[in-house]
């Protein structure tokens, strides 16, 4: 398996470029400048580029009539308005047609879908609707019926519908304000002044602005602020994938390599639903997707499908993981293979559903009743969601255990080029052969892995009963024997600890010993790698290690950590891995902890590195 990001140089982009485009009558310059103003008020550095149509009076809806406004903003010094927008807001088809060529694959397109009617499509040269016909398959498209929504918002305003519809630019602006957490106040003040003589219009525009903001909040539209910018990439075939798409394709791939069906049982939850959507697109008699009635049923049907002998998986986010926990325990005691993807978000409870965090680590590793060990892995980047999930499935089947894959909102909705692996590069998947029926015991063990045999309904001669009650070692019969319970508890723990032998030697970025090691896991990979790169360039002696396996930990990690005087552990929680390291290695790591629903960025990590090293 490739290590995360092995062939790529990752540096974090701390700025984002947004382009508003529409007909010259759509008020694009106006909303663009209001957006710019709000980003400045919010403390961003910025640079803008208005782009008026050449012909002031070009016919409405035509390519020549498209007006644009581009702005780059961020927390660094932003010197240019950005070459290519990360987010394109289009009010009509012509605006899309004009601007699409300047978009990188994976960028976000927010479109007023109401404007994509036949007549305006034709004016822009489209024969079918690009929002629906697959033209935009490589972009993240968010269609908003903004004309109708604006009209509905203003139906009691007394404005005639045609005039009410004109407020749709403020509706779209409201959506963008929510996405980037910008304040509405300055724009509202501006509207009041601008429409001083027509208070009903001022009122309508403010209402549209607020309604758009609320729409984005309730429909949980994601921001597209955080992108990883790639350096030179390895030769091969690429496509853009989000973390959720990558995880979904990994599950399909794992099932194919196993020559089994994939069963995916899931319940909709932000930000994991894209896995469900992606797999639903590939439904076949080999990819069985089941939208269950709740998180519990999603998990239980996954356990059932694993018992049924197929590759079973589910995906969820924090609150859903909490609901699944009891049934995950059933998966542990019945020792069935399954993959559970947890796309972490800000918690506790409903918390920050669209925002990112790394705060489910302890729930994943320890959060079950009884002694209930399983394997926990974490993906480092959107494309790494593929490799990590695929490896999780391989381990699940080889060791007959549930495996939790930790992703998060940052990875799941961020995208990056994914190098499509060749069949020959993919790992081997094996199901241990069953003994003859006469020798079959449901809880016998493979001497090396301690995995029990997997026999599923339909196989003649292997009929057996399993369940949540403690099993007798070997026979699998119900056992209340005190000694047996301790034996089984220890075997389950030993089996999971043994998964450590699957972990390749830990790769150290930089020297193998020294002053400072920055240790990370999961989605902080880009920020840490980039910060360490900068720190070393500045002459600081610092190395980094990034963990894919968080439980069990790599067997060489304890010794490796001791070779550094200090260990810095950046996490998007209050120090969950730090707690584990302390208990495992009696190691006092220095935490860099951010719990704001926002990813750690490289500047923050770099500043902490400098602080820890005493400004050297």
């Amino acid at each position: 398996m490739a290590e995360p990001g092995k062939n790529v140089n990752v540096s974090e982009l701390n700025s984002v470029t947004v382009r508003f485009a529409g007909d010259s009558g759509d008020g694009i310059q106006l909303v663009g400048s209001q957006f710019a103003n709000a980003t400045a008020v919010a403390g961003n550095d910025l640079s803008t580029l208005p782009d008026y149509p050449a012909e002031i009076r070009a016919p409405a809806g035509t390519l020549a009539g498209v007006s644009g406004f581009q702005i780059s903003f961020g927390d660094d010094s932003v010197l240019t308005p950005g070459n290519k927008p990360n987010v394109l807001v289009v009010m009509n088809p012509a605006a899309l047609a004009v601007n699409l060529k300047s978009l990188d694959k994976g960028s976000v397109i927010i479109a007023n879908s109401d404007a994509f009617a036949q007549a305006s499509l034709a004016k822009a040269g489209y024969t079918s609707n690009p929002l629906e016909d697959g033209t935009l398959a490589n972009y993240r498209v968010i269609g908003v019926p903004a004309t109708k929504l604006t009209e509905n918002t203003l139906k009691d305003s007394g404005l005639p519908p045609a005039q009410a519809q004109k407020c749709k630019n403020f509706y779209m602006l409201g959506i963008m304000f929510w996405m980037y957490g910008l304040p509405l106040g300055p724009t509202k003040e501006w509207i009041k002044t601008k429409f001083k003589k027509a208070p009903e219009l001022a009122e309508a525009n403010m209402k549209a602005l607020e309604a758009g903001y609320d729409y984005a909040e309730t429909t949980e539209i994601f921001d597209a602020r955080f992108q990883l910018k790639k350096g030179p990439v390895a030769p091969g075939k690429y496509r853009n994938l989000t973390g959720n798409e990558a995880a979904a394709y990994a599950l399909i791939t794992a099932a194919k390599l196993l020559k089994k069906k994939l069963f995916y049982g899931s319940y909709p939850i932000t930000p994991a639903s894209e896995i469900l959507h992606t797999l639903s697109k590939h439904r076949s008699s080999d990819v069985v997707v089941f939208q269950a009635e709740d998180e519990i049923a999603a998990m239980c049907s996954t356990v059932g499908a694993a018992f049924g002998g197929e590759l079973a998986a589910t995906g969820t986010s924090g609150p859903g993981l909490s609901l699944k926990i009891e049934a995950i325990g059933l998966g542990v005691i019945t020792e069935l293979p399954m993959v559970i993807i947890d796309v972490q978000r800000g918690g506790p409870s409903t918390g920050l559903p669209t925002k990112t965090e790394q705060s489910d680590l302890l729930q994943a590793v320890f959060g079950r009743h009884g002694e209930c060990p399983l394997v926990v892995m974490a993906a480092a980047s959107p494309a790494d969601c593929f490799n990590t999930t695929l490896e999780a499935a391989r381990i699940a089947v080889k060791y007959m255990t549930p495996v939790i894959v930790l992703s998060n909102s940052y990875l799941s909705n961020g995208s990056e080029p994914f190098r499509i692996p060749k069949l020959s590069e993919l790992p081997k998947f094996e199901v241990a052969p069953l003994p003859a029926p006469a020798d079959f015991k449901p809880y016998s063990r493979d001497p090396k892995t301690l995995a029990r045999p997997w026999a599923w309904p339909g196989l003649k001669g292997y009929e057996h009963r399993i369940g949540g009650l403690e099993k007798a070692d070997g026979s699998g019969a119900i056992s209340y024997d005190p000694e047996n319970h301790e034996t089984m508890t220890r075997i389950r723990a030993e089996k999971i600890a043994g998964v450590a032998r699957e972990i390749p030697p830990t790769r150290i970025n930089g020297q193998a010993e020294g002053e400072l090691l920055v240790l990370g896991w999961g989605s902080t990979y880009g920020a840490i790698t980039s910060a360490v790169f900068e720190a070393r360039k500045a002459g600081l002696q610092v190395s980094s290690v990034h963990l894919r396996h968080v439980w069990p930990l790599p067997p060489d990690l304890g010794a490796l950590l001791k070779r550094f005087k200090k260990v810095l552990l950046p996490e998007e929680n209050t120090g969950q891995l730090r707690l584990i390291l302390r208990s495992e290695y009696l190691l006092e790591a220095i935490g860099l902890n951010k719990v704001q629903g926002q990813p750690l960025n490289s500047d923050e990590v770099l500043a902490k590195i400098k602080e820890v090293l005493g400004g050297r």
């Binding site: 069985v288 356990v303 499908a305 339909g458 019969a477």
Partner: protein, 335 residues
């Protein structure tokens, strides 16, 4: 499934494990009936998956010689849905109780029925939590004194069969643990039905609800308080078969008549009529006899048929085509 029917006996479906229900428990009778029904289906052992939740009844899978899964409280239908979708060729039976299936597992029960997924659900209704030693369950009758309701239960109970009828379950029936011919016939029909089947079986719990169904079982008096429902037959009951059910508007009532001279106004039962099933399943003592038999049997495609039907024209991706699948339509090459 085109294969030779396998000849097996009820004994072949005994797992050989000692059965650990209390002496006199109604579950023994149900186990015997089920083993007989399994043997009569012509399917080999390995084609059965028997899935249960938690409770006395949920010990059931250990006692049948098939694949079995004793899962967690309330979740049998959800686990079984995964088994059935993974392998629709299996005969998947769900064994549950009134607490397991209607309280903690009510949501899964409701949605399994809604989907018409091919699960054969058997709900053992003893109107009590027995494994946890006698608390009121969602079918405990009002006023019943239990450990958790010392002054008498104030919860309005579920009527399980009516619950299933209300959900448009395609097969709903009620049996009684000591009525071997009647209940066996119901289970045989359930076994052959396409889609979700819901069979409620009144079942005696010796320690906690011993007398619960006595009036329905006393050979001297029972025929006057129970109604054996048969499709296409008039709703007639009584020791002397001298009473019948008449619907005036939507209101059922009992009429008496000379034995053998059933008046035309006595309703003829139609098990394909969900409205009639709704009225019938609500019959309770003392006004009306307690009905047993198949209340509802209708036909619509099962969830698994719809699922696999919907995807049957989707080309499978074979292993060597993985690269193309992963590339999608828009991959680009970096040299």
């Amino acid at each position: 499934m085109e294969m030779e029917p396998v000849k097996l006996t009820a004994k072949d479906f005994a797992s050989g494990l000692p059965v650990k229900w209390c002496p006199g428990c109604g579950d023994f009778a149900i186990l015997n009936m089920m083993q007989k029904v399994f043997a009569g289906m012509g399917l080999p052992h390995e084609k059965y998956a028997v899935i249960s939740g938690i409770g006395c009844s949920s010990r059931f899978p250990y006692y049948v010689n098939t694949y079995g899964f004793h899962s967690i409280h309330g979740r049998a239908a959800a686990v079984a849905s995964g088994v059935k979708l993974a392998n629709p060729d299996l005969a998947v039976w769900v064994i549950t109780g009134d607490g397991d299936g209607l309280s903690i597992g009510g949501n899964h029960m409701m949605h399994a029925i809604r989907r018409n997924i091919g699960l054969k659900i058997v709900l053992f209704n003893n109107r009590i939590y027995a494994l946890t030693k006698g608390q009121a369950s969602p079918t405990t009758q009002p006023g019943t004194k239990t450990k958790s309701t010392p002054a008498g239960s104030i919860d309005y109970p579920f009527n399980p069969a009516r619950f299933a009828v209300g959900l448009d379950c395609t097969f709903v029936a009620r049996g009684l643990d000591n009525d071997l011919p009647g209940t066996t016939a119901i289970l045989e029909r359930a076994a052959k039905h396409n889609g979700t089947t819901f069979v409620e079986i009144f079942q005696k719990c010796v320690p906690f609800s011993d007398k619960e169904f006595d009036p329905l079982k006393n050979p001297e008096t029972r025929e006057d308080v129970i109604l054996r429902v048969e499709h296409g037959k008039p709703l007639v009951f009584g020791k002397n078969r001298d009473k019948g059910i008449v619907f005036k508007g939507f209101k059922p009532s009992v009429v008496s008549f000379e034995p053998g001279r059933v008046p035309a106004e006595v309703a003829v039962y139609d098990e394909t009529n969900a409205e009639m099933a709704y009225l019938l399943s609500g019959f309770t003592q003392p006004e009306l006899p307690v009905p047993f038999g198949v209340f509802l049997s209708t036909s619509k495609p099962s969830f698994e048929e719809l699922y696999y039907g919907q995807v049957k024209d989707v080309a499978h991706t074979r292993e060597h085509e993985l690269e193309a699948l992963l590339a999608g339509p828009d991959a680009w090459e970096v040299k």
